[in-house]
């Protein structure tokens, strides 16, 4: 990478390494992205201990629409990094599979796409009104069974709505 600063994105994409180069670039990009997310996620989660109300405020703000797209991007990054990382480990410790390395890349892509399909539907369909939020019904049913469960106690209004229904 001595010439890193002189190598354009187009050069990297059209490099003869093809599948190997593309996954190498995406592995880096997703890895750095996940690290950035982790720093935010870890500090934000630590507030649950010292400032629980702040933590609940964070969770509420994540329920607004734009965060869904960001969260889907984070999920894709984690998923790709995990599957591609598994491929790298397999190739490193069983070098003879390198003879099939291009096929392994396409297998990686297939696994990622297959996992993305249902998750994308689950996360985005409610935003476009194509489906209910997947957790709402189950949350309600669970709170009917155990109204004193922690999340039903009305920290952000869910508990009080449930309590009203129960009293009817």
């Amino acid at each position: 990478m001595a010439n890193a600063r002189r190598t354009s994105l187009f050069n990297s994409l059209s490099y003869r390494g093809r599948e190997g180069m593309w996954t190498w670039m995406l592995h880096r990009a997703t890895g750095l992205g996940v690290l950035l997310f982790l720093i935010i996620h870890v500090v934000e989660t630590a507030t649950v201990i010292y400032f629980p109300a702040t933590y609940d405020w964070f969770l509420d703000s994540y329920k607004t629409g734009l965060f869904r797209f960001a969260e889907l991007l984070i999920f894709f990054s984690v998923l790709f990094h995990a599957v591609n990382g598994a491929r790298i480990i397999v190739q490193d410790f069983w070098p003879y599979v390198m003879q099939r390395q291009r096929q392994l890349v396409w297998a990686t892509a297939a696994v990622v796409v297959l996992a993305m399909l249902p998750v994308t539907w689950m996360m985005l369909a409610p935003i476009f009104g194509l489906a209910e939020e997947p957790g709402v019904e189950r949350h309600r049913a669970r709170c009917m069974e155990t109204p004193d469960a922690p999340a039903c106690a009305g920290v952000h209004g869910a508990g009080s709505a449930i309590a009203g229904e129960v009293s009817l």
Binding site: M1, R5, R28, G31, L35, I49, A53, P150, H156
Partner: protein, 144 residues
């Protein structure tokens, strides 16, 4: 992504490609870091996958709030699970960031500056998380 025997510390660029091994004492830090990335990566696939399935599918985001988390962390096992998750994830991420910084930030002064900032932020976040997980008393938080 190369086999351990081929990992070469970056030294002087050699005509015809590659790098000469740097002079001075030889360290096997890079080989250890190569192994660490494979082992922590393999562990993280399982730890992070379980973490995602548990909080997003089993609990579900609708059902999640501060009390659910605190209740979960009443159990020392799940606190240690989270300590392991955050330590492996942060060290794996930090070493990955180090690879990128060494590749793209070539001037020694700038490299030191960027590394200092990134190491401080990542290790600081990790320290906050581990300290919080290991020292808090769930009983006092639930009462709030």
């Amino acid at each position: 992504m190369s086999a351990p025997a081929q990992v070469v510390e970056r030294g002087v660029a050699r005509g015809g490609g590659g790098y000469l091994r740097p002079r001075g004492k030889r360290s096997n830090f890079e080989v250890l870091s190569w192994f660490f990335m494979r082992i922590s990566g393999l562990l993280l696939i399982f730890l992070a996958l379980y973490h995602l399935v548990w909080w997003n599918l089993v609990i579900g985001v609708e059902h999640l709030d501060s009390r659910v988390v605190i209740e979960r962390w009443n159990n020392p096992f799940w606190r240690l699970f989270n300590v392991a998750l955050v330590v492996f994830a942060m060290l794996h991420g930090l070493n990955g960031a180090r690879y990128s910084i060494e590749d793209y930030v070539r001037r020694p002064g700038w490299q030191l500056a960027v590394k200092s900032v990134v190491y401080t932020v990542v290790l600081g976040a990790m320290a906050v998380a581990v300290f919080a997980l290991l020292t808090f008393d769930p009983a006092t938080v639930i009462g709030r």
